[in-house]
Subunit: 201 residues, 2 copies
Amino acid sequence: MSLRYALISLLRVGPLSGYDLQKQFQVSVGHLWHAPDSQIYPELRKMEGEGLVVGEDQARGERGTRRVYHLTEEGEAAYTRWMQDPLPYARVREPANLKAAYLEAATSDAARAFLADHIRHWRGELEQWEAELVRIDARENPMLQRRLAVTDPRDHDRTVAFKRFGYEGLVARARAEIAWGEQGQALLDSLYGPEDAHSAS
Amino acid sequence: MSLRYALISLLRVGPLSGYDLQKQFQVSVGHLWHAPDSQIYPELRKMEGEGLVVGEDQARGERGTRRVYHLTEEGEAAYTRWMQDPLPYARVREPANLKAAYLEAATSDAARAFLADHIRHWRGELEQWEAELVRIDARENPMLQRRLAVTDPRDHDRTVAFKRFGYEGLVARARAEIAWGEQGQALLDSLYGPEDAHSAS
DNA sequence: AGTATCATGTAAACTGTTACATGATTCG
DNA sequence: CGAATCATGTAACAGTTTACATGATACT
């Protein structure tokens, strides 16, 4: 359900082809709401069916075409409604915490591998988001530049501040996950001994 | 995919009827992996089809029956495999952060309502999980007691420690979400003024 | 001529949500 | 005898993932 609003977020700065949209998606709003291209094309068609966007076929070379999507007033209205309405919160469903709570059923090696993997995963995410924060501050992200180009200059700081805010939440999340993983490693050290099967070679 | 392992986590301490399982689920592992009862019954049937559990129909009164599920060796093996294998990590998909990043499209009132709601939601979750931590420490959660009853006393502390660890991660998560929401409120104050439409009555 | 990248999807399977549906038993 | 709770689902829909599938154009 959020995918369409992520797509509208991009289309609000101007028309884009499905392909461009998909590419821009990966490097901007896709950090906040991941979606593969195979989901984006059908969703655009569906949104077109509901009147939120209109697609315009453009010739490309001799035979090729590309479909450029424009946001309609109805699409803009749907976006505004989404912004004004409360977000429905889903109950938590965390595989990592589920597994962690029953880790006595794993070998200590598997437990260590699980935590190392958890930390590795979130460090990777953290890196992405921090890099994005740097690009936001420098205002060098291409979609952000296009957005600022169609925004009243008095609102530039606010626009940048909200983008920053969105990513700061994810950065905090990643840091919390990493800290939790490290806390788990300390717990394993205390339960099984610090070197546990990795000392002797 | 995690639902079945959440269910096996409970069945590992002994057989349970679908109904009991569902009830125990809500107050224990359901905090880590939410699922409605309408999902639990079909999943049990599916697991039975795959040989992970066997269901035994028991008479109840004159006409009623209840189906008691036992974990099979195959089910136990599937659980062990899940414990040993690395968890697949899904890319992030956070509606709240998505919305936050584009909050310049909302009115300041809607933005404030969104943050208040976010904080309210996570405070509620936090309360649940902290209460669960207290019950874990007191070892008074019924499923935990049943688990300890079938566990070697030398492993009791470890079992409790991992349960605690699982919930601590969620508590940290909730605290991070609340802190982020408050940071957002401060941001709104700085952008729109601290009292903004809520001062005069 | 070959490679990168532009360009767009379909199909099947899986997972999860919501609403609806029904009836039995136990306790006061 | 009425209410709580025991007991078990189905149906329809929404959302997501994965694998497959194809071909055009631009650049070197």
